[in-house]
């Protein structure tokens, strides 16, 4: 977080130093408008509609209870009419937050799993992750807009013969800076977001007291509900008698698993469960 702040601070300072103040000003105005409407923009881009208590009493009630438990103001509740199961939280502050779920998610999760997923999103709002991430990506947007503006000014400015001999090299240097900011910022945002996911998982585990409910929801989302054998042990045992090794060997599924992050999250949730069981 601190790194991100330092990075952006240095970036703004450098841009001011290069005398591109006017450009920075324009970009900030544009992005500020975007930022203040960010929750609405995210919701509409996900085709999510804000619902009232009457429209979705169960979902609304769950969010309300979790928000009270977490000590945050009641966020807006939205349902996105998408078949892809997903949930997200958005908003520029705790007061302007929204929690949205897709209809696909409502269909595949049971009440306890839904509670766990909502608790995860509520944790994002409680720890101001949503705000942090909005800010973090906000500066990234600024950087990317600036670099494209600089690109244009380099092309057109160059053709129009510069008043200043140094202009070309300054713009080149500024381009380089924005480029570095974009790469480094992107990496930082990704790291931050991974860390935030783990911390929200933990927050959800504490909020609901059921770490495995979230694990089970994650596994459903990944589409890899743990594969258990269908055959009865008695039948499997008689089959195994003909083989020296177990008929169903472990390892293959793990080898080809393409989602290590979900596995890691589930692994951690299992650890929380064990911790909680020892404490109980």
């Amino acid at each position: 977080m601190l790194l991100l702040g330092v990075l952006y601070g240095a970036f703004i300072w450098l841009m001011l130093g290069f005398g591109q103040t006017w450009m920075l000003g324009i970009v900030f105005v544009i992005v500020f408008i975007q930022f203040s409407a960010s929750d609405k923009m995210v919701l509409s881009s996900m085709r999510a509609k804000v619902v009232t208590r009457e429209q979705a009493p169960k979902l609304y009630g769950l969010v309300e209870r979790l928000a009270t438990d977490a000590g945050i103001p009641m966020p807006k509740v939205a349902i996105s009419d998408l078949a892809v199961p997903n949930a997200f939280a958005t908003g520029r502050s705790q007061k302007h937050a929204a929690v949205a779920v897709t209809t696909g998610l409502i269909q595949i999760l049971d009440d306890i799993e839904m509670e766990a997923v909502l608790a995860h999103e509520i944790s994002h709002i409680r720890t101001k992750d949503v705000v942090v991430m909005t800010y973090a990506s906000f500066f990234l947007i600024v950087a990317s807009m600036l670099s494209s503006m600089l690109m244009f000014s380099a092309i057109f400015g160059g053709m129009g013969r510069s008043r200043n001999n140094n202009a070309g090299s300054i713009i080149l240097a500024a381009l380089l800076v924005t480029f570095v900011v974009r790469i480094a910022g992107g990496m930082l945002v990704a790291t931050l977001s991974r860390y935030r996911e783990f911390s929200a998982d933990r927050g959800a585990a504490i909020l609901t007291g059921r770490p495995m409910a979230l694990a089970s929801a994650l596994q459903k989302l990944q589409g890899s509900i743990p594969r258990v054998p269908k055959d009865d042990l008695r039948r499997a045992e008689s089959m195994n008698a003909f083989f020296i090794m177990s008929a169903v060997g472990p390892g293959l599924a793990e080898l080809f698993s393409s989602h290590p992050s979900t596995e890691k999250r589930v692994q951690r949730l299992k650890e929380y469960e064990t911790e909680a069981a020892t404490l109980r």
Partner: protein, 173 residues
């Protein structure tokens, strides 16, 4: 298992049903009556003053040797003794599983349900089995089993690979 069962009772709100069972594979061409008699013969080597034993044969021809006792410690001691007499009688190789049923009060469903810890000698590990509803329906709660395994791991040698979590339908308890 006895100590583990005690800790289960303390930590997970589960209570033993007062029974443990050993599942024994029949040998080829053995009739149900022969399987039953063979198991009963082996069990006669046990000190049966402390607990009640019972032998049945299920519809798949597998034998079940069961011990009943309301005292958990006795139950655990009985299970250990049963293992010994089976080994002595040469039945050790044919023990497919040791089954330990527990009653668990499911807070979400608001009802009691029976969940099982299954010891599989083949992999020397315990696996969870949580049927959902009557055995005839052949439905199980995998998410509950995942929770059981996570909770039981520190108490028992559990098998983490879900591909080993075989069901045993139609148990006599």
């Amino acid at each position: 298992m006895g100590r583990a069962a005690l800790r289960f009772e303390e930590q997970l709100d589960t209570i033993t049903t007062g029974e443990v069972g050993a599942l024994i594979r029949p040998i080829e061409d053995q009739t149900m009556a022969q399987t039953k008699a063979e198991i009963e013969r082996a069990l006669s080597g046990m000190d049966r003053t402390q607990f009640h034993t019972e032998v049945t044969v299920d519809d798949q021809g597998h034998g079940w040797a069961m011990i009943k006792s309301s005292n958990l410690q006795e139950l655990a001691a009985g299970a250990a003794q049963m293992g010994d007499v089976f080994l002595a009688a040469g039945l050790g190789e044919r023990v497919v599983a040791g089954v330990f049923p527990f009653m668990w009060n499911d807070p979400t469903a608001g009802r009691e349900r029976t969940i099982y810890w299954v010891y599989q000698p083949r992999i020397r590990s315990f696996t969870p089995f949580a049927p959902d509803g009557p055995h005839a329906n052949r439905e199980r709660s995998t998410d509950l089993e995942v929770r059981m395994e996570a909770a039981g791991r520190s108490l028992l040698p559990t098998a983490r690979q879900t591909t080993e979590w075989y069901p045993i339908w139609g148990m006599p308890f």
